[in-house]
Symmetry: none
Subunit: 196 residues, 4 copies
């Protein structure tokens, strides 16, 4: 039950990958053990975690720790002097983050309702803070009134989020638009909206 060890890390890695692929319920402890190089079914996992759920918790916490940066999204959005450039940067950054957290996104979508406790907290932290951060930036940078900034953030971030939900969660291979075009179009829309 050490805080960290190579095996422990391998267990979390394997588990999160399998959870993302097959869902939490769809992944057995034996599969995780096997993927982590332990004898499947021998219960080796339980020397490192109290339960299967504890593995998920550890995995989610690791993701969240890694995402602390995203939480304060304004740090990325330094003033480039050019709104279009900043919006492009934002879009690319958020898409890249969502891509690197594909596993987490999949798990959240599959298990949000079956595993309330753990997953709910993670979603709240992740989504709310991202939306709030972007809204605050719109308020500061584009001088939008607070309520309007919130609404624009909801519409704008929704677009970016759904592009990854479609791909990673719903496995929709394509809606006919490549990433670059998507970003360009999104930037145009946001820019048209923000005036100037």
């Amino acid at each position: 039950m050490t805080a960290s060890s190579p095996t422990r890390e391998r267990i979390v890695d394997s588990a999160m990958r399998l959870f993302g692929e097959n869902g939490y319920r769809g992944t057995s402890v034996a599969q995780i053990e096997e993927a982590a190089g332990l004898t499947p079914g021998a219960g080796g996992l339980y020397h490192h975690f109290r339960s299967k759920e504890a593995v998920l918790s550890a995995g989610i916490e690791r993701h969240l720790a890694r995402l602390d940066a995203l939480r304060d999204i304004r740090r990325v959005l330094t003033d480039l002097g050019d709104l279009r450039a900043e919006l492009t940067l934002t879009a690319r950054y958020i898409l890249a983050e969502l891509d690197s957290e594909e596993e987490l996104l999949r798990i959240m979508a599959s298990e949000a309702r079956s595993l309330p406790g753990i997953v709910e907290v993670a979603i709240e932290q992740l989504v709310s803070s991202t939306y709030a951060g972007f809204a605050a930036w719109l308020h500061d940078r584009a001088a939008l009134p607070e309520e309007r900034a919130t609404a624009v953030a909801a519409v704008g971030l929704g677009s970016l989020l759904s592009s990854r939900v479609l791909r990673s969660v719903l496995r929709v291979t394509s809606v006919g638009v490549d990433d670059d075009t998507f970003v360009t179009t999104w930037v145009e829309m946001m820019h048209a909206m923000l005036g100037e």
Copy 2:
């Protein structure tokens, strides 16, 4: 195995509700039977369906049949002469549809990866046709070139989809914007984009 009977209907109803609430794996055949008024665990379900998966298939097919209307979205978007009004109508209509198909949306998100065959086809049909339909309308009505219409459809519909994915799938209670404001803002953005 009759094509249709009151019991069969009750089974599909109960099953889809339970799948939406607890996921496919999280719902046992016995639970479905009980909810459908049969003796739980007695296997009565198997007089109407070959397997648990067949119940899901039937449920999804029923949803898809009901959604045929949405497939040809242009039927709704009759010419009102006013682009803003038409966009507002579109947004409201799509959100309403997503709401009435909340069950399906949840199931798709939870099981897209664990039950490829059945669910994947449904998602493909549903999403692709909706996106394609909206793009076609943009092409006709707003005179956008085809590629651009596709891109704008992707960005625009994504926003609407995300709003319901957040609420129904990820259980995010609110991102600070009510539906009316969301629609208004979305319409503005689309309108700003489409020029004129």
Copy 3:
């Protein structure tokens, strides 16, 4: 989960026998199933009981129901006019009852501490009422003051109980005395104590 069925009865029978032989923990559900004619390990037991503990509960309740007679021990001790004869009858009756409840006695001794809830109640009902019943009889029949009757009952019944505890629980094969001699000696002692 029917209240009664041949299989259910066989499960309780087998379980109580095995619990008596190997203890509650020492008996696996698979063993019970096998002894009851079900496929071991297939979980058939769970169609009749919610858990392994529920089987023990049902078994204990069955024993207790059967022991309702013993509870009012005075019914047996009808006035024969001869104290010696009545004491002899009592001793034989109690030993016979303990013998027919050997299983229960073993289970009580093995599991009194590991399964408090269920077993504790049974012991309390069984032991307390027997002691109280015998004390009441001594009070009525031999005109002993209440406190004295209680003390004599404790000493006297203790002897009888220990003879069966030694044999059934501790597996002491013999302490050099056969049952008839034991009863005769016990009767003499009680008689000497109760005076003429």
Copy 4:
């Protein structure tokens, strides 16, 4: 595997206490290790004992060694000239011994059937010799013929044993008699029996 060491002693102490509280099967090697100040689950116990059973054996042997005195009960029963006084002394002594061996008594009762080998021998040694010793004393002191002495010993010791079996094994909190009254009554009964 040293014959004796502080850790070894702590292991036996902890183990016997836990066996008494939770039973042999109900106590894990990890629990014993933890209670003995070792890292639970690390297998430190196996540096001192070949197996879990060997710990129980060592514990029982230690108890038996301590009980060698009781085996020759007559040493206690020195001639006081007064039979009543000697009986009182005997009763108190045996009850005190049973109390100080509560652990052992519990273990014997719980595990007599699941762990025959080890425990059976201990019980045999302990019980038989006590009964035989008391019978011999009755034979000498009260001039009872051998067979009669054996029978009276069985009836008399049974009472004392039961009182502790009820309390320590069956957890019956009280049968309405305190220890002093119990002893007094027992002495009276034995005295009435032994005549003069």
